[in-house]
Symmetry: C2
Subunit: 191 residues, 2 copies
DNA sequence: GGAACCAGCCTAATACCTCTAGGCAGACGA
DNA sequence: TCGTCTGCCTAGAGGTATTAGGCTGGTTCC
């Protein structure tokens, strides 16, 4: 019998690709086993269960997202950094819709520490952008939350088709949205 | 045999309640049938399939959301209207997490017209808020998209636990986020 | 009052997915 | 060369989605 050479890592990567193709909600253990030409039960030596598989994909996505954000921010500051970060974020979501959806999985920081670490790293990068805007706590945290909300909300609504009812180009609205975030960070309202 | 008195409307309402209790992703035809004490197959006289059930819940949610938004906006303008709208939005998401998740379902405007109508109504209300800020096209559309993205993103991340890593009160950040949106609408960046 | 109809629920059956228990065979260290 | 361990298997239980077809009690209409 020729072995498929399964490992948790290979399974996770294949699951991420599968999720990008068919949607994260259609990522199943069965479909993944089919892709490797093995029986469903074989996967359970490498992953604990279906939830575990999804968490692994989420962790991968959060890590990749943080990597891209880090690369985008390298050598940039202020408005430039913000725009590069924003585009990296949105591009990733467009290229990897399944992984991006995975990143929105509700995670338990207690047990799913690897995912929590990646999320923390991403948050730290967001905070780095704000250095150029000279915001101090608690404004900085509020701004991080607003910035992340706006970017996430945009790609989320775009993906769900929320912007299809109007002819205005989605890319143009995105550019203006990033502009708007820059504007508000430079004029952050006083308490 | 005592009949359960099923109708599509009763099923939809019960499904919405069920989704609020157990989460939209755990809304199943089986669980709904169990709640009415009937067999799964019995529901298929009233709903087409599981997808149809979910779309019905999404339509209900979008309608309720538009109703709440309309009530919040009545007699208000400018910053006041924005804050009332924002709070109505977030409160609905907190009270009805399952329905709110349903509202994010990817809908096909061609076939799922009732849901599309509700979404359009909600968008029109958002646009009404912007009248106080005197934005003209295409800025208005860009602003609608940004505003909706920010609010949706915030409740989405809050629900997924994205703000749990930091002690800053989530309600306070929310208030500042609404402030920030008001600020940017008043200082909308020129092209 | 009875016939015919229909709405509302049922049983039965298929198919897919998740997950556990236990088995076998090839690779690999002693 | 002999365990042993890893990696995959078979078997099977249990949940969900969905279709086909059947029974029954209430309604309608002569």
């Amino acid at each position: 019998m020729i072995r498929a050479g399964l490992t948790a890592e290979r399974l996770t990567l294949a699951a991420a690709e599968l999720a990008d193709e068919v949607g994260f909600e259609n990522l199943t253990v069965s479909a993944l086993a089919r892709r490797f030409g093995v029986k469903d039960a074989s996967l359970y030596s490498h992953i604990r269960n279906a939830r575990d598989l999804r968490v692994r994909v989420a962790t991968l996505a959060l890590t990749e997202l943080a990597d891209r954000a880090a690369a985008a921010l390298a050598g940039r500051a202020g408005r430039d950094a913000l725009a590069a970060f924003a585009d990296a974020y949105r591009d990733y979501a467009k290229q990897h819709p399944g992984r991006y959806a995975a990143a929105q999985l509700e995670l338990d920081p207690e047990t799913e520490t690897a995912a929590a670490d990646a999320a923390r790293r991403h948050a730290a990068l967001t905070r780095a952008i704000l250095r150029g805007y000279r915001l101090v706590e608690p404004d900085q945290t509020d701004a991080v939350r607003m910035l992340h909300s706006t970017f996430h909300g945009y790609v989320c609504l775009e993906r769900a088709g929320g912007f299809r009812h109007h002819p205005r180009a989605v890319d143009d609205s995105w550019a203006r949205t990033v502009d708007a975030v820059d504007t508000v960070l430079r004029n952050w309202p006083a308490q």
